[in-house]
């Protein structure tokens, strides 16, 4: 009988330790921490530049990024995120967790979950720009280097989350 | 399960306690603000005069490393004994880093006057390098003081004469013993003699 490892997760402290090592390696090798939202921004900026160059020039946002010959920092994140995808897939494969699935609380329908996911994503996208990073880039990496911005980021994300958790509890419990 | 956690947590606390006592450390290579550089510039400890350097040469002091920052042509024509040639333009080249960025020997930069040596010193200081000095007045002054020192006046003090003798001897060392050195005999202190006046007596 094939062992079902799909519910087996690594001890969180151990996982945290390994994640910390990966983060440390990133700092030691490249001088920067991890990130995720930056990669999406890179892709969007590149796409707009290619598809609608005049619009890009005229915009106060995009114009900052063109002409400098895509800042290497931005492309770094894209490669890193591709790596995250591969790494996640690898782990999923090893643990037998590959499955097309819409995860949701039994109290709501799949459709509700998907709509919530999109809205959540939109908010996260917008918020990550203002926050200059998401939980990985700003909060996690920022905390490791003890930057004030990193701690404020973390406190605001989780603080607000706790404040609105009750309102949306049906989504989860 | 519990035991492992206790060990892990204890290790973390111990590491934290160690951190509490670690001193501040800044590993950045270039940390010289303009103010700091200015302070270093006016310090006279970075300057060595001809006598000092001559002394180090004669006593064969191993800590001395003379660095000629003039062009290679100038170096070829004449250079101080034991000096290596690092033209000013090349001072930051990788091949010379082991010479200028070290903490054991005393690097003394020199040029014809002081300008190029000073520039070399500033550049190296900016990079955080230590143990670098300059020969004040450069080769021009070297010639004036060591090779053809001024003969002190009769009225000059002992110190001036000692210095003169030292320089003359030094010049001999550098130029070889063939030069006939005329060592003026030091005139005795002109003591004011009380002339014995014949007692003029008489009434």
């Amino acid at each position: 009988m094939k062992e079902d490892r799909s519910k087996k997760y690594m001890n969180p402290y151990l996982a945290g330790f390994f994640l910390g090592l990966v983060l440390l390696a990133a700092f030691y090798l490249t001088g920067r921490g991890l990130g995720a939202s930056g990669a999406v921004k890179s892709v969007i900026v590149q796409t707009v530049e290619v598809v609608a160059p005049t619009h890009a020039e005229n915009s106060s946002f995009y114009s900052k990024y063109i002409g400098t010959g895509t800042a290497p920092i931005k492309a770094w994140l894209v490669f890193e995120i591709l790596g995250v995808f591969v790494g996640g897939a690898l782990s999923g494969a090893v643990m037998g967790r590959f499955k097309w699935k819409i995860e949701h609380s039994p109290k709501i329908k799949s459709k509700t979950r998907l709509i919530a996911a999109v809205i959540g994503g939109i908010l996260f996208g917008l918020g990550s720009q203002l926050g200059r990073g998401c939980t990985s880039g700003s909060a996690l990496s920022g905390m490791a280097v003890l930057s004030l911005g990193g701690f404020i980021s973390m406190m605001c994300i989780f603080g607000t989350g706790y404040m609105v958790a009750y309102i949306f509890r049906k989504l989860w419990i | 399960m519990n035991k492992k956690y206790i060990i892990a947590a204890s290790t973390l606390i111990i590491l934290g306690a160690i951190i509490l006592f670690l001193p501040e450390k800044d590993n950045s290579k270039v940390d010289f603000t303009a103010e700091k550089l200015m302070m270093n510039l006016v310090e006279s400890t970075r300057m060595m005069d001809s006598d000092e350097v001559a002394n180090l040469i004669i006593t064969k002091d191993p800590s001395l490393q003379l660095i000629d920052v003039r062009t290679s042509e100038e170096y070829a024509k004449f250079h101080l004994p034991g000096a290596i040639n690092i033209p000013l333009a090349e001072i930051l080249d990788e091949q010379w880093e082991a010479y200028v960025n070290q903490a054991t020997r005393k690097n003394v930069f020199y040029s014809n006057g002081s300008i190029r040596a000073d520039q070399a010193w500033i550049i190296c200081r900016r990079g955080g390098y230590i143990k670098n000095y300059i020969l004040v007045g450069g080769l021009n002054n070297w010639m004036r003081t060591i090779i053809s020192p001024e003969i002190p006046e009769d009225t000059d003090d002992n110190l001036a004469w000692e210095r003169y003798n030292f320089r003359k001897a030094t010049a001999q060392y550098f130029l070889g013993g063939t030069t006939q050195t005329v060592v003026p005999v030091r005139k005795a202190d002109p003591t004011v003699k009380r002339k014995k006046k014949a007692v003029q007596g008489g009434c």
């Binding site: 996982a15 910390g20 900026v45 959540g120 720009q129 980021s153 | -």
Partner: protein, 204 residues
């Protein structure tokens, strides 16, 4: 001495290979910890699964301690390490928006990618949302311009590079703060473990 690429000890051509490898490590560990499940992630807000807190704090502390020791041993030049600048109001507002996004979406960008990799459809929709959100920000940038650039931040933030350390802001030494953070995290781990035992778990 590190950072190796910045000091040219490793050539910058390897930068992208390194990025890929680091990303793989990142994604693998996240998935191993179960961060590919939105239900598990949301658990930290409802008390039934504090895995997010455990992994997050442990990772931050591991890296922080690692950096402190590397610095002490002269193995890294911290002046070459990117320290994210502090834009006070922009971060607060951004963080708040992300907080709501987290509750609704059940992911953050990194974990979203991770979950998408193992087939979670809600994660794909979440990622789609991120694209829309950032695109919206870019197009409506003029609306956010002042906030983003921190033009109304308190004066003490405006001068200089905004490269402010958390311990400087509070007024204690870096090492003391690090020690304090370790103690606080350990306390949090113990407390949350107790809370978790008492909360009813949903089926996941």
């Amino acid at each position: 001495m590190g950072p190796l690429v910045a000091q040219d000890i490793i050539s910058s051509e390897w930068n992208f290979v390194i990025a890929l490898l680091i990303g793989i490590g990142f994604g693998f560990v996240l998935e191993q910890a179960g961060f590919s499940s939105s239900k598990k992630l949301a658990g930290v807000f409802y008390g039934y699964d504090f895995v997010v807190l455990r992994v997050f704090f442990t990772a931050a502390i591991t890296a922080m301690v690692g950096l402190i020791f590397l610095n002490y041993l002269g193995l890294i030049d911290m002046s070459l390490v990117y320290i994210n600048p502090t834009y006070l109001y922009s971060t607060i507002v951004g963080g708040a928006i992300m907080g709501v996004g987290f509750i609704l979406g059940g992911f953050c960008p990194g974990t979203g990618v991770c979950a998408a990799a193992i087939g979670k459809i809600d994660a794909w929709f979440f990622l789609l949302g991120i694209f829309i959100g950032i695109f919206f920000f870019a197009e409506a940038y003029d609306l956010f311009h002042d906030l983003y650039l921190g033009l109304s931040d308190p004066a003490s933030f405006q001068e200089g590079t905004r490269n402010i350390k958390v311990y400087d802001q509070i007024g204690i030494s870096g090492n003391l703060f690090a020690f304090g953070m370790i103690i606080m995290a350990l306390v949090a781990f113990v407390v949350t473990a107790q809370i978790e035992k008492k909360v009813k778990k949903p089926n996941y």
